[in-house]
Amino acid sequence: MLYNIFIDPFVQMAGAPDLLVQALWDGLVSGVLYALIALGFVLIFKASGVFNFAQGIMVVFAALTLVGLYEKGVPAYVALALTLVVMFLLAVAVERVVLRPLVNQPDIILFMATFGLTYFLIGFGELVFGGNPKAMITAQLGLPRGVIDVEMLGGRVSFQKIDIAAAVIASIMVAALAVFFQKTRIGRALRAVADSHKAALSVGISLNQIWVIVWFAAGVVALAAGIMWGARSEVSFALEIVALKALPVLVLGGFTSVPGAIVGGLIIGVGEKLGEFYWGPLVGGGIETWLAYFIALAFLLFRPQGLFGEKIIERI
């Protein structure tokens, strides 16, 4: 038994390195998806202190809008542009209807409000575009398809081209966001708002404007995540469960750290793939559903402030 847990998996890894590489790659790819969802969380949390539970649904909603518009006869790129418009309108609506009336409420109330938003978006999305799973319009958007097989380590490892594209797009988005945050006037305002709403207001920063911008940025990130994820499986509200994995990612990375979200996402992605592949069979498989939470939990017990967070000093 102990052998099966502590030794055998590593023997397997060493015995078939090509499989290990494949598992690692698969883990990294789902890690990128988790990281992108978590990134949306972080953006909103940083700027408005709202723990946006609806981020996962925004991913589905964006993908669903894109595919739904295409199915209604809108050309792919026009549909993409229209989806961006929809995400912007969503950001405006959220600011008007949810955030503005709830300003200064405790965090938990705002968190609950995003629960309401989640339910509303599920109902709305299914009402407009139907509840059936849809295929992502990968080819029509000009994204690469197909597989690259690489002979290595005495075996063959296959890389989906879309996955590579996803990783590249994700990196570009993160870089762009980092520049935006650090170098622009709006970025500085965002960081100011993150530190203190009242102080930011007092120096003339418009909270409402900032919130719209942040929620729109989160919407764009959601769209990117939605396209990528849709290309790997299909577009349906089953992603809600996947989106919850962003929570352990955030716990690992810290709620306000962009690099944390990325590293956390990759750790969780790789960790659960390796766990499922090498340790899952011992208990009958399917442990992917909960492993991520246990990884995060174990981590939390030793470092409650996350990977990149500062040590918490409680004051009174």
Binding site: K311, I313, E314, I316
Partner: protein
């Protein structure tokens, strides 16, 4: 330690006589506290004698609140020792300190905002309540009798602090001055041997300050509770306290009777600044 409470001035039956009046109740020896690289307290020693009002003063950031946090076990100092009633310890859980008879109020009011005045003060009686979980399930009978017994004590405290009118008001809705008073009540409900007051008069107007001074003196005189007090209002400090310890940048710069401290050059420098 008994829970039998009788009305009148004998509010506190919990008299611990292991330390005679005038003897050190609490001794702080060479305590140092660091947060990462920041030294909040460096090598501070002083004592608090039974029955006195001991003031801790100093400029902002001098480490006063940290000192209180160390005394009641919320922070754990890296060096030094603390003896309370002759028992020495370095690390202690706050709940343990509370059980030993140390209670306190906070600089920024730390009441239970969702609960009424009555419930807040009743919560202060938790340590004195003995009926276990299975009695609580039933509530009628022994658990309720116990509640009623403690309610009597709490009502005495409410009378003493003159907050009868807001008994059932959620404390979040009370004005600041009253919140401070409720907080004092909650600390008193624990029947402490040592009461730590962190800026009990901050943000009060003159009238409220006078009331609070009266309450503090009454607590000290009538109930015989030893008090450690942080306060910025020098008039109040000089009037109330028996002895004063002065901190600056985490170090002790003076210790003694109010008049001695007032005359000390180090204290004058710390407060007024000094030409270098």
């Amino acid at each position: 330690m008994s829970n039998q409470i009788i009305g009148g001035p004998g509010l506190f039956s919990r008299r611990d006589d292991s330390v005679a009046k005038g003897e050190p109740l609490l001794t702080v020896e060479n305590v140092s506290l660091r947060f990462g690289g920041v030294r909040a307290i460096s090598d501070v020693s002083f004592d608090i004698r039974k029955g006195e009002v001991r003031a801790i003063i100093g400029p902002n950031g001098a480490g006063k609140t940290s000192m209180l946090n160390v005394i009641n076990g919320f922070y754990h100092p890296q060096e030094g020792r603390i003896s309370f009633r002759g028992q020495t310890r370095r690390r202690m859980r706050p709940s343990h300190a509370a059980a030993q008879g140390i209670s306190r109020t906070f600089q920024n009011v730390a009441l239970f905002k969702g609960m009424s005045t009555l419930d807040n003060i009743m919560a202060g009686r938790t340590l004195h309540m003995k009926r276990g979980f299975f009695w609580q399930l039933w509530r009628h009978g022994p658990a309720l009798d116990e509640e009623i017994r403690h309610r009597r004590v709490v009502e005495e405290i409410i009378d003493f602090l003159e907050i009868e009118a807001v008994r059932k008001t959620p404390v979040g809705k009370l004005p600041y001055g009253l919140q401070k008073r409720v907080e004092l009540g909650r600390a008193l409900a624990m029947e402490p041997d040592l009461l730590l007051l962190d800026e009990p008069m901050a943000g009060m107007n003159l009238e409220e300050k006078e009331d609070m001074c009266r309450f503090i003196l009454d607590v000290n005189n009538a109930f015989g509770v030893t008090i450690a007090l942080i306060e910025h209002d020098m008039g109040v400090v000089m009037d109330l306290s028996d002895r004063v310890v002065v901190l600056e940048y985490g170090r002790k710069i003076a210790d003694g009777a109010p008049d001695e401290v007032k005359a000390s050059q180090a204290v004058i420098d710390a407060y007024l600044g000094v030409a270098h």
